[in-house]
C-alpha cells in the first residue's frame, strides 16, 4: 500500500505542531544544528511516486471566452481612460462619417419630406458610431438625460460613453434618443433603431422606420 505525505497540503497549525514535536525529541545539544524542511516528501519502500502531469501548451488558433476574460478584453477600465486620448478617434470618425454620408461643405441632408430621406436615414443607421460625440436628449431614465461623451464601445443594447470627466458610462439604447453633432449638422437618432449587433449592422436589412414612443 502506498502512503504518501505531502506536507504542503497541511495547514499552518499542523506544521507548527510537527516542528515543535521534532524539536522536543532531538537532543538539546544538537538543537541549534537542526534544520526542518517540511516541503520534503517522505516515501515508504516499494511504492511508486505519482507522476506529476505536465500541462500541455495549447496551440489553439482561437481564444475561448474564458481566456479572453482572463486577459481583460471584455472590460474596459472605467477610470483610467482619458477623454484627451479619445479625441484623435473622434477626428478620425468625423472624416469617416462625412465621407460615408457623402457630405460636402455646403450640401444639406434631406429633410423628412424628401424622397431620398428614407435611404439617407438607412445609411445613417448602418454607419459606425465608435468615436462619435453623443448626447442623450430624451430617455425613459431621467438621470441619463444630458449625458454626453465619446462612444468607446458599441454593443447590441448599450453604448459605452466616455464623458469629459474621464468616467465611462453605459447607456442603454432602447429607451433613449441620441443627438449627434457632425460639423454644423445635428442628427437625432432613436436608440431603438440602433439595437443591432455592430458586426451585423452593415449587412442587415432594415425595415421601414416607425417612430417609437418613449
Amino acid at each position: 500500500m502506498s502512503t504518501q505525505t505531502d506536507n504542503q497540503s497541511f495547514g499552518q497549525d499542523v506544521r507548527e505542531a510537527v516542528t515543535s514535536l521534532i524539536r522536543e525529541n532531538v537532543d538539546p545539544n544538537q538543537r541549534s544544528k537542526l534544520e526542518i524542511n517540511l516541503h520534503h516528501r517522505t516515501q515508504l519502500l516499494n511504492t511508486k511516486a505519482k507522476k506529476l502531469k505536465k500541462k500541455k501548451v495549447s496551440k489553439k488558433k482561437t481564444l475561448t471566452r474564458k481566456e479572453k476574460a482572463d486577459m481583460g478584453l471584455f472590460h474596459l477600465p472605467t477610470k483610467s481612460l482619458k477623454y484627451v486620448d479619445m479625441l484623435p478617434l473622434h477626428e478620425l470618425w468625423k472624416g469617416y462619417m462625412s465621407n460615408h454620408l457623402s457630405l460636402t461643405n455646403e450640401s444639406i441632408p434631406p429633410t423628412v419630406g424628401d424622397p431620398s430621406y428614407d435611404s439617407f436615414s438607412k445609411i445613417l443607421v448602418k454607419s459606425d458610431f465608435h468615436g462619435a460625440i453623443v448626447t442623450v436628449t430624451r430617455s425613459r431614465c431621467p438621470s441619463l438625460v444630458g449625458v454626453s461623451g465619446i462612444v468607446a464601445m458599441d454593443t447590441k443594447n448599450t453604448f459605452k460613453v466616455l464623458g469629459k470627466d474621464n468616467k465611462l458610462r453605459t447607456i442603454p439604447k432602447m429607451d433613449s434618443v441620441f443627438k449627434i453633432l457632425l460639423k454644423n449638422l445635428e442628427f437625432t437618432i432613436f436608440g431603438k433603431h440602433l439595437t443591432i449587433r455592430p458586426a451585423e449592422r452593415s449587412v442587415k436589412k432594415i425595415k421601414n422606420f416607425m417612430e417609437p414612443d418613449l
Binding site: K61, L73, H100, H130, M153
Partner: protein
C-alpha cells in the same frame, strides 16, 4: 475601363472596416482591450459581409485576438536563424506568434500584375486597389 457609372459593391462596408482598422491602430499599445475589440470587429464585419481584407493589412492583425500589431508598441519583431530565415511577430496581448519567410524575390499574389483581371473605376476615384 469604360465610363459607365457603376456602384461599388460593398463600398460602405469597406469604408467601415477601414475606419475600424485605423481606430485599432490608434489604440494599439495604449489600450489593449479597445485595440483588440476594433480589430476583432473589423474582422467579423468582413466575415459577415463576405469581403476580404487586403493581405498586407491582414498580416498586421493578430490572428488570435485581433490586436493590431505595431512592432515595439503592441508586438515584438524578431528574425530567427533557421533556413530560410523567418520573420517572427509576437503579439503582446495573447502571445501568439506568426512566422513569415524572408524572401526578397517573393511577392504576394495580390501585388503580382498577373492577378489583375479587370480594373473598374468609380467616378474618378479608383477603389479597386484600396482593398480587394
Amino acid at each position: 475601363m469604360g465610363g459607365k457609372k457603376q456602384k461599388c459593391f460593398g463600398k460602405d462596408v469597406f469604408e467601415r472596416m477601414n475606419f475600424l482598422y485605423q481606430a485599432g491602430t490608434l489604440m494599439a499599445g495604449n489600450n489593449k482591450a479597445l485595440s483588440c475589440y476594433y480589430g476583432q470587429l473589423c474582422k467579423s464585419i468582413g466575415k459577415k459581409a463576405v469581403l476580404r481584407i487586403e493581405p498586407n493589412l491582414h498580416r498586421t492583425m493578430c490572428k488570435r485576438c485581433g490586436n493590431i500589431l505595431k512592432p515595439s508598441k503592441s508586438a515584438e519583431l524578431s528574425i530567427s536563424d533557421e533556413n530560410p530565415k523567418m520573420c517572427v511577430i509576437t503579439c503582446n496581448v495573447c502571445g501568439k506568434c506568426r512566422r513569415f519567410p524572408i524572401n526578397p524575390n517573393y511577392n504576394l499574389w495580390f501585388d503580382n500584375p498577373q492577378s489583375v483581371v479587370e480594373e473598374i473605376r468609380y467616378d474618378g476615384e479608383s477603389d479597386e486597389n484600396q482593398k480587394n
